[in-house]
């Protein structure tokens, strides 16, 4: 059950090995979260993360192997999660793949695949969980979007375009769920220091997964729908969005 302050007791992390996702799970476990399903592609990696969560004191952690691109597997995840967790309070969507933005490496198939992992699959998962949560009249969908989708840059434009699609889908879904008891929280982090970004040049306003986790807990409490991490990025991007293209192109980072 979600308590009056917005804290969930059970949750599914889709993208079960995501550093940001796991940081959010651990942070929520200091409040009420005690029953978790980690879902993802790599059984061994999931099991390792599950063990880490168990040893950090989370009561019930299990894993579920599913590829976010497989609609059948997502259906299986929904029914399995409800059975294991006795109702799901929280879905945290943290799948993502930076892919590539090099034209020489891109093909129609590659673009479709990057879109599928970053947008199509997550959108399908949100939809499936939203429906089941609306039936119980409560639930929170937390989507890891990215500032990369707010104004798409040359350096990661395929990833950015997919995140833009997911972000817009989540905003629309949030409207569609108004009055259902189910809420959507859209998280727009800037540069987060993780394995995924390791080796890339660090952008200004870089944060750690723990900072994202704190922002998510805060948003669940306040009911804020769109969360920028760090918060200053809301202002920064209000400016960047209207910056003329020749200037935007020359920005570092």
């Amino acid at each position: 059950m979600i308590d009056a302050t917005g804290m969930p007791q059970s949750g599914v992390l889709l993208g079960g090995t995501s550093e940001i996702g796991l940081a959010i799970i651990r942070r929520l476990a200091t409040r009420r979260l005690g029953r978790v399903v980690l879902a993802g592609r790599d059984p061994a990696a999931l099991e390792q993360r599950a063990n880490e969560l168990r040893s950090s004191g989370i009561d019930q952690v299990s894993t579920f192997v599913a590829d976010v691109r497989d609609a059948g597997a997502l259906d299986g995840l929904v029914s399995e999660a409800w059975a294991r967790l006795d109702g799901v309070d929280l879905l945290l969507v943290a799948t993502g793949d930076l892919g590539t933005a090099e034209l020489s490496e891109l093909s129609a198939g590659r673009v479709a695949s990057i879109f599928e992992v970053n947008a199509g699959g997550p959108a399908a998962a949100l939809l499936a969980f939203a429906e089941a949560m609306a039936a119980q009249g409560s639930g929170r969908l937390v989507v890891l979007s990215s500032v990369a989708g707010v104004r798409v840059r040359r350096a990661n434009f395929v990833y950015g375009a997919a995140k833009a699609g997911l972000d817009a889908f989540a905003v629309g879904l949030s409207e569609a769920l108004e009055g259902s008891g189910v809420g959507v929280t859209i998280v727009r982090p800037g540069y987060v220091r993780t394995r995924m970004t390791a080796g890339r040049s660090q952008a200004p306003f870089a944060v750690d997964p723990g900072d994202v986790a704190n922002a998510v807990v805060r948003a669940l409490e306040t009911g804020e729908k769109i969360v920028w991490v760090p918060a200053i990025l809301r202002l920064v991007f209000a400016g960047l969005r209207v910056l003329p293209r020749p200037v935007f192109r020359r920005l570092p980072g």
Partner: protein
């Protein structure tokens, strides 16, 4: 969440439900039961299909006690018949859904008052028993269950006639049992005699919390009713400044001597016709009770109260149910709703009370309804809330960042002092502390399991706190989050509020 609904609705069907605090919200199938037969039929149907079920009255418990996600909610607010009223003895038998409001409109003109009323008269008799409600007279008269002679309870194992002598463990598991033992179908209650519908009220101000507690300890015994309103935004040496109101039912002799003030109580001195003065027609998109608004209200409220005034004549509604004058005032808290944090700590644990009031002040928690009261002895209800000591009730708007952590800290202080929080108000207690706060929980679980081994009776409150079912194993949790740089409510410790 904007769709929380706690208004009684005329029809059956699936809908979103919440308590008076408007959070948490969940969806259930509501079945209106207009009498015991309809209620037992709904229970039999749910037992057969394996659905979870809980009863509901007027939806005045603040949290998630009267809702069950995905299950069946039996709405008994339409079962309102007054079955028997003995004007000589003051004993009344009524169906579960009769409200204190309706009962008083009949009984007051006849010279009888409910022995215990909470701060609203819009509660059903069955709800009052399920929460074992208390009033301003707990130090003298105890809680609601003390005055209940018997009731009829539809359990999963059949319908029982329950009294303190017959099925006494079921009686005391039901008093404060939050509806989880069964559906109360009707109950028999002893009323108290009154000579008039007027109250004689003494009001005084206290400079701080210690002054308030001292005044209460010194002279509470002289009054049947006593309560203190506390300004929890006051700071420094004013922390806990308060207004005490204490009173009695006015005797007819006292009222006859009151001259013009007595006129409105009619020739028989027992006129009673409370009205709603205003209503909040819709939920505003934002919380109207901001910190500044509450601070201004509290300042005005404290200053408006007389330093000392004796013998004021007041109406029943002004003394007991002032908030009932504004219909659906809970909407003022906006779409996120509010919670009420109410705890009791034993006499001798005043330090815990000071600590929490101090923390409310230093964190500038914007509550305009903070109430302190002394409880008398506990009754034998397994999960009954009142216990000898001090109880503080604080209305807190939801949506403040850090609130979850702040209240978890209060939970620990209360549990460590041997106190507990009130389940009828709760929407967020730390589940691990339930057993510490309610040491007779296992005894209560045994009664429930005997009546309902299949666990048909359940509620969101039950599921959230594992009331009926022990936690698989105690959760090991760090007390505070290492990653959080914010202090509760987003303030740094030294920061001074405007």
């Amino acid at each position: 969440m904007s769709a929380a609904a706690n208004e009684p609705s005329p029809s059956d069907g699936e809908r979103l439900l919440s308590g008076w605090g408007r959070a948490p919200v969940s969806r259930a199938r509501v079945v209106k039961a207009h009498d015991g037969l309809e209620a037992t039929a709904a229970l039999a149907a749910a037992s057969a299909t394996g659905e979870r079920l809980i009863g509901r009255g007027l939806g005045r418990s603040y949290g998630d006690a009267a809702q069950v996600s995905g299950g069946v909610v039996v709405d008994l607010s339409g079962a309102t018949r007054l079955l028997c009223f003995d004007g000589a003895s003051g004993v009344v038998t009524a169906e579960a859904g009769l409200s204190i409001d309706t009962l008083l409109r009949t009984s007051v003109p006849e010279g009888w008052f409910v022995p215990v009323t909470p701060g609203t008269r819009q509660v059903t008799l069955a709800g009052a028993l399920a929460a074992d409600v208390h009033g301003k007279n707990h130090h003298v008269d105890g809680s609601f269950a003390a005055w209940v002679e018997r009731f009829k309870l539809a359990t999963a194992a059949g319908t029982l006639e329950v009294s303190k002598e017959r099925e006494s463990d079921v009686f005391w598991a039901t008093a404060g049992g939050m509806g989880l033992t069964g559906l109360v179908l009707d109950l028999t209650l002893q009323l108290i005699p009154i000579e008039s519908s007027a109250m004689v009220v003494d009001t005084e101000r206290a400079a701080d919390l210690d002054d308030c507690m001292a005044r209460m300890e010194e002279r509470d015994a002289e009054y049947r009713y006593s309560v203190a309103w506390i300004d929890c935004l006051a700071r420094g040496r004013h922390v806990g400044r308060s207004v005490l109101t204490r009173g009695e039912h006015a005797t007819s002799a006292r009222l006859e001597g009151a001259g013009r003030a007595a006129a409105r109580f009619g020739p028989g001195l027992r006129a009673y016709d409370p009205r709603e003065l205003a209503s909040v027609p819709l939920t505003p998109p934002v919380r109207l009770l901001s910190r500044k608004a509450v601070a201004a209200f509290n300042e005005a409220w404290f200053r408006k109260a007389p330093k000392e005034r004796r013998g004021e004549i007041q109406s029943i509604q002004a003394f007991f149910h002032p908030l009932d004058g504004v219909r659906e005032w809970n909407r003022l808290y906006g779409p996120r709703g509010f919670t009420q944090y109410q705890f009791v700590v034993p006499s001798g644990a005043e330090e815990t009370l000071r600590s929490i009031v101090g923390s409310l002040s230093s964190n500038q928690v914007p509550s305009f309804l903070t109430v302190l009261k002394r409880f008398g002895a506990a009754d034998p209800g397994h999960l009954s809330f009142p216990a000898k000591g001090w109880t503080l009730a604080v209305d807190i708007p939801l949506g403040l960042p850090g609130l979850s952590e702040l209240l978890d800290g209060f939970d620990e202080e209360v549990a460590a002092a041997g106190g507990r929080i009130y389940l009828a108000k709760d929407g967020r207690l730390r589940p691990e502390l339930l057993g510490t706060m309610y040491p007779r929980l296992d005894e209560w679980r045994e009664v429930c399991d005997r009546l309902d081994p299949a666990r048909t009776f359940s509620s969101d409150l039950d599921r959230r706190l594992s009331l009926r079912r022990p936690l698989r194993r105690p959760l090991r949790r760090p007390r505070t989050s290492p990653g959080s740089r914010r202090t509760p409510l987003g303030r740094s410790p030294g920061e001074v509020a405007p």
